[in-house]
């Protein structure tokens, strides 16, 4: 019973926070909305008995990703300031497409027979340990795991490389070549 209430509360909070995250003009506040959603997600993970993932979610998303976003906002002057509209001109189209997506998804979930299913079996209390072993077992998931780490390394190096160089060009746009000639 308590779990129901927690779930209902947290998911409501998450949806509201998500709305804040996508609508608030102020980027830092939007990020805070995101953080709330991420945190709510961690709570849902706990409800789903995925404790390891819940903690990993907090560490990686809140501890790393959200901080990174905030940092990027801070590093770029004026970006964090709230001015101008939050959406571009064609935002109505986005509403249409997202709405279509929502209708489709809800329809799908509502008509899916397994959607109101109960869990088949309880989670092994030793699950985290087994997961750790499966992640590095040669016959388990070591290759996806290593690929993920290689991806992270590549992303790290790439990010450093991309963010390192490049000087700011005077004026808002670089001139396009044809315009220069004209």
């Amino acid at each position: 019973m308590v779990a129901y209430w927690i779930f209902a509360l947290v998911s409501l909070l998450m949806v509201l926070a998500a709305l804040v995250a996508v609508t608030n003009r102020n980027l830092v506040r939007a990020t805070m909305g995101l953080v709330l959603v991420l945190f709510g997600n961690a709570v849902l993970f706990v409800l789903l008995e995925a404790y390891f993932l819940a903690v990993a979610q907090v560490i990686i998303y809140i501890g790393a990703i959200a901080i990174l976003i905030v940092f990027a906002i801070m590093l770029t002057r004026h970006v964090g300031d709230a001015w101008g509209p939050a959406f571009h001109r064609a935002w109505a189209w986005a509403v249409v497409v997202a709405g279509g997506l929502a209708v489709g998804l809800l329809f799908w979930i509502a008509h899916w027979p397994a959607a109101d299913g109960k869990a088949k079996s309880p989670v092994d209390p030793q699950y985290t340990k087994l997961l750790g072993k499966a992640l590095v077992a040669p016959d388990g998931y070591v290759i996806p795991f290593e690929v993920a780490s290689a991806l992270l390394l590549a992303a790290l190096i790439g990010a450093i490389y991309v963010a390192w160089g490049g000087r700011r060009v005077k004026g808002p746009y670089p001139q396009r070549s044809e315009e220069k000639e004209a």
Partner: protein
């Protein structure tokens, strides 16, 4: 126990909101935030499916871990691009950056 569909609904809501954010926001960072919401929805889905359909296996969890890694990589590269773009153009509004305009 909470039905699986409830988690899927939450996840769908997050996904749609995230998609809307990614599609409609002006700022590149806000787009990234939208993408993160979508990632989270996928993550929630993966974990919920794992818990309800196959709790003894590792596929769902490993999938979630991979999503986490991909999200981290995506944000790192995305923000690096964002900073590079900001340096180059002096703005980070996605709809103003249209070098490939036909």
């Amino acid at each position: 126990m909470i039905p699986l569909g409830a988690y899927l609904m939450v996840s769908a809501a997050l996904f749609v909101i995230g998609a809307f954010g990614a599609l409609a926001r002006k700022s590149a960072v806000a787009i990234l935030i939208g993408l993160e919401l979508m990632f989270n929805a996928a993550l929630l889905n993966a974990v919920a499916f794992w818990r309800y359909l196959h709790p003894q296996g590792f596929d769902g969890t490993v999938f979630a871990i991979v999503i986490l890694a991909v999200a981290a990589a995506e944000v790192a590269v995305g923000l690096a691009l964002f900073i590079a773009v900001y340096r180059r153009f002096g703005t980070a509004e996605a709809d103003e950056i249209a070098l490939l305009r036909g």
